[in-house]
């Protein structure tokens, strides 16, 4: 035998051996008191890690709590997690692994809309309940039998803003949005729902993600006829710059921001210019400011205190809250169904009524797999450099 074939065969052998290692023994029939296997795929690293990191921390923290309290129906929870780094292709491979190798009973996760959408065909075929933590409305519209989600959608943010405007008698609005994924999606949703609130969009401007000055766009808006309010759909630095330019140009109409800026960072960046700006946000942001009788108060204050006790003051985010809601929805469904059997849990998830989570009150139905009402959002106004509840 000459050497090339020998080396070829040797490499072939190596390759086979390497792949052989991944093959695990087929899972034996699961006993009733074995742990419930909770599968999760989150963007813990990469550009979307600001979503995945608090989500994973929250899942780990609360699964441990559930286990210490005796588990679900007497069964412990076993978390299997893979990091997708926000890559849809990786998400697909890992979800196959969760379904086929780890044989999980439920899948929680998918930090981004992309990773979630990529795995929907897989979970639908495997018929395993799947609760996503991603924002996109396309995840649950149209409804897919096995797919649920916890966070409010961009459409709801638009609706909340327009509802507030109607309360103030505002009809003619100008829109300025970022061209990034978030701004683009929200702009589209706002355009769709505006007619339902009899809101007329009289100006529609955009800016790029790296832009450092939006005076030109805002000047155009200022010159547009009869603008009664300006809405800014965007994420990150952009909205802070819009807010500053807005103040510099001496606008006399109110400015609305989106839930995309619902963090203290925005107030820091925009400074005094942020005074009087309104935005829809999750209750978690103003946990301690909620009135004592608010049914959501104990949930959000409880989560905030527990999370910040471990990870430090100001570390809590709405994203981790979405993960908590997902886990608790699953817990509620398993307890209601009396088993972790996928089909039973799916039916139980669909019939959840009046569940209170960090995002708001959830009432699922066969054609609503999100179940959040507009009350999920609180309208906030920035006063003296801090959030204040408007309604």
């Amino acid at each position: 035998m000459t050497t090339p074939l020998k080396t070829g065969l040797m490499l072939a052998g190596l390759a086979i051996a390497a792949l052989g290692l991944t093959v695990s023994a087929p899972g034996a029939a699961r006993a009733e008191d074995d742990p419930i296997r909770v599968g999760s795929f989150l963007a813990v690293t990469g550009p979307a890690s600001f979503l995945g990191d608090p989500e994973l921390k929250t899942l780990e923290m609360y699964i441990e709590r559930i286990n210490q309290a005796g588990g679900l129906n007497g069964r412990m929870l076993d978390l299997v997690h893979y990091d997708t780094a926000g890559d849809a292709n990786k998400a697909r491979t890992f979800v196959k692994r969760l379904l086929e190798d780890d044989e999980v009973d439920v899948i929680l996760g998918g930090s981004t809309t992309g990773t979630t959408m990529a795995v929907i065909p897989l979970v639908e075929r495997a018929e395993v309940p799947f609760i996503s933590f991603a924002g996109g409305v396309s995840i649950i519209d149209p409804v897919k039998p096995w797919v649920f989600k916890t966070p409010h959608t961009d459409r709801m943010a638009c609706e909340k803003i327009f509802e507030d405007m109607r309360g103030r008698g505002i009809v003619r609005v100008a829109l300025i949005s970022g061209t990034g994924g978030f701004g683009k999606s929200m702009r589209g949703e706002c355009m769709t729902v505006a007619p339902r609130f009899d809101i007329e969009v009289v100006a529609d401007e955009t800016y790029g993600p790296g832009d450092t000055d939006m005076v030109a766009q805002l000047t155009k808006i200022k010159n547009a006829e009869g603008v009664e309010a300006v809405v800014n759909a965007g994420f990150g630095q952009g909205p802070a710059i819009v807010t500053k330019n807005f103040a510099q140009l001496g606008f006399e109409v109110p400015l609305y921001q989106s839930h995309g800026v619902a963090s203290k960072k925005y107030i820091e960046l925009a400074g005094d210019a942020a005074e009087g700006v309104r935005l829809p946000a999750a209750a978690l942001l103003v946990a301690e400011k909620l009135p004592a009788g608010d049914p959501q108060r104990p949930i959000v204050v409880g989560y905030k205190t527990s999370y910040e006790a471990v990870y430090g003051d100001g570390s809590v985010s709405t994203f981790g809250g979405h993960a908590l809601d997902g886990l608790m929805l699953y817990k509620t469904a398993v307890e209601a169904a009396g088993s972790a059997e996928p089909a039973a849990v799916r039916d139980a998830l669909e019939s959840i009524r009046g569940f209170m989570g960090t995002a708001g009150e959830v009432t699922m139905s066969a054609d609503d797999h999100l179940g959040l009402g507009l009350s999920a959002f609180r309208m906030l106004e920035i006063r003296d450099g801090d959030w204040t509840l408007v309604d």
Partner: protein, 347 residues
């Protein structure tokens, strides 16, 4: 006459060479299978045939199919990097473009998947040709920068044109239909990708063994020397660039139908880097090295997934170790070791 002497002398020499080669061919006709080319193809075929015995479920098939898809791109890229000595940091752009052409044409315009694939490949080929003419006049860092730019532009277009591509959130791709049946599930995809990979490897080996391949190696060694020897260096560089881009586009189309979903991440910079790393790790100027490089770098993250936080550290360490101790890449180094070992036993 002086100028008559050279051609006759040359032809005599050439005849002699053909003669000796024919002799050696006859001697080794039976050993054809054992040559670098035949032996390599045979062992690759063997691996592909035997592998399904070890694939227990859809997840294993998924990993195997991903290895195959990456390997197709890397075999093509290896022609460019390993043989022509040109670097491309934008191949994920071509991969993504192939994927999105298939996605958009089948999802929005109802075109048949088998028709969309060649359209994507052709489109990318034409684009690569148009880019290559001016870009391949550059060399070294400039060429790397230019291909990097092309990749980034493709990625930006895909992310921005949301009405067509679904933007950063990606879009669904219909299943591929062949002869009236929908291609779905690991095993079916395994054989499709395996066949395409074999074809890619066969094409690549043939190209390397042809006069084009010799010209390319000359080009890699010294572009000036190759030019002096009468090699049209630009033409060959452009040709290889186009071939490798088309291979990436075909792999992209297959990947789009396989995963039923595409996102701009398919075309992003880090994906390009991953492809280049696969070439370098497996071994430059080794077609089977490219396949091994793709296999190792697709498998490693799966093995390391359980180490979570340390995944990237371990991955980096492994790659550094390989590059420090096996600077020629996995396959050439191991092959040299085996050859030395065989010589020792023979003695």
């Amino acid at each position: 006459m002086a100028h008559n002497v050279r051609p006759s002398g040359y032809s005599k020499f050439a005849k002699k060479q053909t003669y000796t080669r024919r002799m050696s061919t006859r001697k080794s006709r039976a050993q054809m299978l054992l040559s670098e080319r035949g032996g390599g193809m045979a062992s690759l075929l063997l691996v592909i045939l035997v592998l399904p015995l070890f694939l227990a479920n859809d997840y294993h098939y998924d990993v195997a199919v991903n290895i195959g898809i990456n390997a197709i791109v890397v075999v093509g890229l290896n022609l460019l990097i390993g043989y022509a000595g040109q670097i491309s940091l934008g191949h994920a752009g071509f991969f993504g473009l192939g994927a999105y052409t298939s996605a958009v044409l089948t999802a929005h315009y109802g075109l048949h998947g088998l028709l969309a694939l060649p359209i994507g490949a052709l489109g990318v080929g034409v684009l690569a040709y148009a880019i290559a003419r001016p870009v391949l006049r550059l060399s070294g860092h400039y060429l790397a920068m230019a291909t990097l730019g092309v990749g980034l532009i493709i990625n930006i277009i895909i992310s921005r044109e949301a009405w067509l591509t679904g933007g950063p959130d990606g879009m669904y791709v219909p299943l591929l239909e062949v002869f009236g049946t929908e291609v779905y599930g690991g095993p079916m995809w395994y054989w499709i990708v395996a066949a395409t990979l074999l074809l890619a490897v066969w094409l690549s080996l043939n190209l390397i063994d042809s006069p084009v391949g010799r010209a390319l190696r000359g080009l890699h060694g010294s572009e000036v020397a190759a030019q002096v020897a009468g090699v049209d260096t630009t033409r060959y560089k452009v040709m290889v660039f186009v071939i490798s881009a088309v291979m990436a586009a075909v792999a992209g189309s297959l990947a789009a139908h396989f995963s039923e979903f595409v996102t701009p991440a398919k075309a992003d910079f880090s994906h390009s880097i991953l492809f280049v790393t696969m070439v370098v790790l497996g071994g430059m100027a080794s077609t089977f090295g490219a396949v091994v490089g793709a296999a190792v770098l697709t498998l490693l993250p799966q093995f390391l997934a359980d180490f979570a936080d340390y995944e990237h550290v371990i991955l980096g360490l492994i790659m550094m170790t390989v590059m420090i101790f096996m600077p020629k890449g996995l396959v050439p180094t191991l092959a040299a070791l085996a050859r030395r070992g065989a010589r020792r036993t023979a003695r």
